[in-house]
């Protein structure tokens, strides 16, 4: 195996509650010991429901949040060891695309200025060549070069997302965190933007950390997938087999919720009872135990936290699988 581009070890992120009256309130345990790797050119899908901590992992990987614990290595260097200036220089190699296409763009700047900013601050082209670069980037993401002087509100959601992608590409990254990049778009537009991301991956050899809650989309783009529940990874392995043959009860429930084009082949949907436990007071045992429907579920599930173990071609965190 090649050396990983991104290597996350035992990442922990806790948030202290804000405000004068919450000083003694327990911390919110958003991420509780997540390890993952992304190889150059590889796409890792990170799946889970709202509040599972998947976006926090994405932001911590880019060091937009300072982790409470654990290490993040990018191209072999621990991001925590870098000086602020070194970190800013490193940021050129890792980029982000957000869910909210309009909110991702500064409303007071032309899209040309937004795309050019990264090229300018990292000195990637002489000033005279920057407009031509911006034009080329706009064309690469399927937009007209004359749009350079327009403002974000003049575009549709899909176009805005393409602008956000062009802005990320401008600094020539090796790795992009895509944080739910298509979930705010119309379904017809989703496919176009997804295809664009696939094309760009091919052309530039990009690696993606693709965060999503929609397994159908992850199946299309990801090589491997990691399923998160309440701040931990419960199952991870090759995207194809994990999604076609899920082992962890939570993954099984997620997969059963994906609509199948053929209604006759749609399996029985597993409807989970109750809510996930509060991330400020997680249960001592398996985080999924309170909602688990596994036939062998027992007292051990309530007392002992299961660790990821190798099961055939993937890792599963369940006492009763493998």
């Amino acid at each position: 195996m090649t050396t990983p581009l991104v290597e996350v070890r035992d990442l922990v992120k806790h948030y202290r509650p804000a405000g004068w009256f919450n000083r003694n309130a327990p911390s919110i345990r958003a991420v509780e010991g997540v390890s993952l790797e992304v190889a150059p050119g590889e796409t890792l899908g990170l799946v889970g429901e709202s509040g599972s901590g998947k976006s926090t992992v994405g932001r911590a990987v880019l060091r937009l949040e300072v982790p409470t614990g654990g290490t993040i290595r990018f191209e072999g260097r621990d991001l925590a060891d870098l000086s602020p200036a070194e970190l800013r220089a490193t940021r050129r190699r890792m980029q982000v695309i957000f869910q909210d296409p309009f909110g991702s763009l500064n409303p007071r700047r032309t899209i040309g200025a937004s795309i050019a900013e990264g090229i300018e601050i990292h000195g990637l082209a002489p000033a005279a060549e920057i407009p031509a670069r911006v034009d080329a980037l706009l064309e690469e993401v399927g937009l007209d070069r004359n749009y350079r002087h327009r403002y974000p509100h003049e575009f549709s959601g899909g176009q805005q997302q393409r602008i956000g992608i062009a802005r990320a590409l401008a600094v020539e990254p090796a790795f992009i965190v895509c944080d739910e990049p298509v979930s705010a778009l119309d379904v017809s537009i989703q496919a176009q933007v997804l295809n664009l991301l696939l094309d760009l991956r091919e052309r530039h050899g990009l690696a993606y950390l693709f965060i999503a809650h929609d397994l159908a989309i992850v199946r299309r783009i990801a090589d491997r997938v990691a399923v998160m529940y309440l701040g931990t990874i419960v199952e991870t392995g090759p995207a194809r087999t994990v999604i076609s043959d899920p082992r962890h009860p939570y993954t099984r429930a997620l997969v059963s919720a994906v609509p199948h084009p053929d209604p006759d082949r749609q399996g029985d949907r597993i409807v989970l009872e109750g809510e996930p436990p509060s991330p400020s007071a997680p249960p001592p045992g398996c985080p999924f135990a309170p909602r688990c429907f596994h036939s062998q579920r027992d007292r051990r599930c309530d007392q002992e936290r299961p660790l990821l173990r190798m099961v055939e071609d993937r890792q599963v965190a369940c006492h009763h699988e493998g």
Partner: protein, 323 residues
């Protein structure tokens, strides 16, 4: 843009004229006889009274009063003050200098320092110092300007005797004093009223800028800028402040008339010979030409303020199309 500017300016002029007409009409319709207010209890023979009434146009019908006023204003003539027996335009011109001096410095400091502090506290909302600033602004916002003024006078002028408490300059200053000495004297007289005005007003732009910047600082485009490696200064200026400046521009437009109206309480407390104090005196003595003259000046200032704010707004929000 230029087409818009012409139309917007014409609108401001029309509104100023309308405002002036309404002002003259309203004052004319007020009950009470200004003559009595000025002459007081002194006995005057009926012939003299009638002469004064005619001379001051007290009994003219409204259309005649309005006509006279409009004709006068085109020649820069705002009438004669009852009390001072001097042209109102001259009186206003005398008072405008000190008011402009105090008002322009107040707005300059209040808005630049206010925006900087508001932005600073939005960038680190959970820090102790930002929270302390929030408490302090709440206190100065709650205190009326004359209370702040009196406290400052008590501390700096009465107890410690560091600074003069009243007027524009020292009447005992030698006539042959050098330019530097005159300037220093003027600055010493300016400090307390200026400090009072700034303290009384700065809480609003700080809080306005803070809340607007708190919204933009959490925006995804700011996180994307950090992810691109943009420097903290550039993020603060380009990505947090610029999209959050419009509410402050609106506030500036509302406050620009302060430049010519003066702050009545502060000018009164510090015996600052400005327009605000003049309005207070004229209202007390029913000096109607002065009240109207100052009122028209204010109407024009309000219009000019909102015109400038609209222009700034268009500069600050490029690309927005007019509906």
């Amino acid at each position: 843009m230029s087409h818009w500017a012409v139309r917007r300016t014409a609108e401001a002029v029309a509104l100023t004229i309308l405002g002036a007409v309404l002002l003259v009409a309203l004052v004319h319709l007020l009950p009470g006889d200004p003559l009595n207010a000025i002459i007081g209890e002194r006995a005057l023979d009926p012939a003299t009274k009638a002469l004064l009434r005619e001379q001051w146009g007290v009994d003219h019908p409204l259309p005649v009063v309005l006509g006279d006023f409009m004709v006068g204003i085109t020649r820069g003539d705002l009438g004669i003050s009852y009390g001072e027996q001097r042209p109102v335009a001259t009186l206003l011109a005398e008072r405008l200098g000190p008011t402009l001096l105090l008002g322009s410095l107040t707005l300059l400091i209040t808005f630049t320092v206010g925006m900087a502090l508001g932005l600073w506290s939005a960038l680190r909302p959970r820090s102790r110092r930002a929270q302390l600033l929030g408490t302090l602004t709440l206190i100065t916002y709650t205190l009326p300007s004359f209370v702040i003024g009196l406290v400052l006078v008590w501390v700096f002028a009465v107890s410690w005797q560091w600074l003069p408490s009243a007027g524009l300059d020292d009447p005992l200053l030698p006539i042959d004093a050098t330019g530097g000495a005159v300037l220093l004297d003027r600055i010493r007289h300016l400090i307390l009223p200026l400090a009072t005005m700034v303290l009384a007003t700065i809480a609003v732009p700080i809080r306005q800028q803070r809340s607007a910047a708190l919204a933009t600082v959490a925006a995804p485009w700011v996180m994307a800028a950090r992810a691109r490696g943009v420097s903290p200064w550039r993020i603060a200026w380009q990505h947090v402040w610029r999209p959050a400046v419009t509410p402050v521009i609106t506030l500036l437009g509302l406050w620009l008339p302060l430049l010519v109206s003066g702050a009545v309480f502060v000018e009164y407390v510090f015996a600052w010979p400005g327009v605000g104090a003049l309005i207070a005196e004229a209202t007390g003595t029913r000096d109607i030409p002065v009240v109207i003259g100052a009122g028209v000046l204010l109407v024009a200032a309000v219009q000019l303020g909102s015109l400038i704010a609209d222009l700034l707004y268009r500069v600050a929000t490029p690309g927005t199309v007019e509906s």
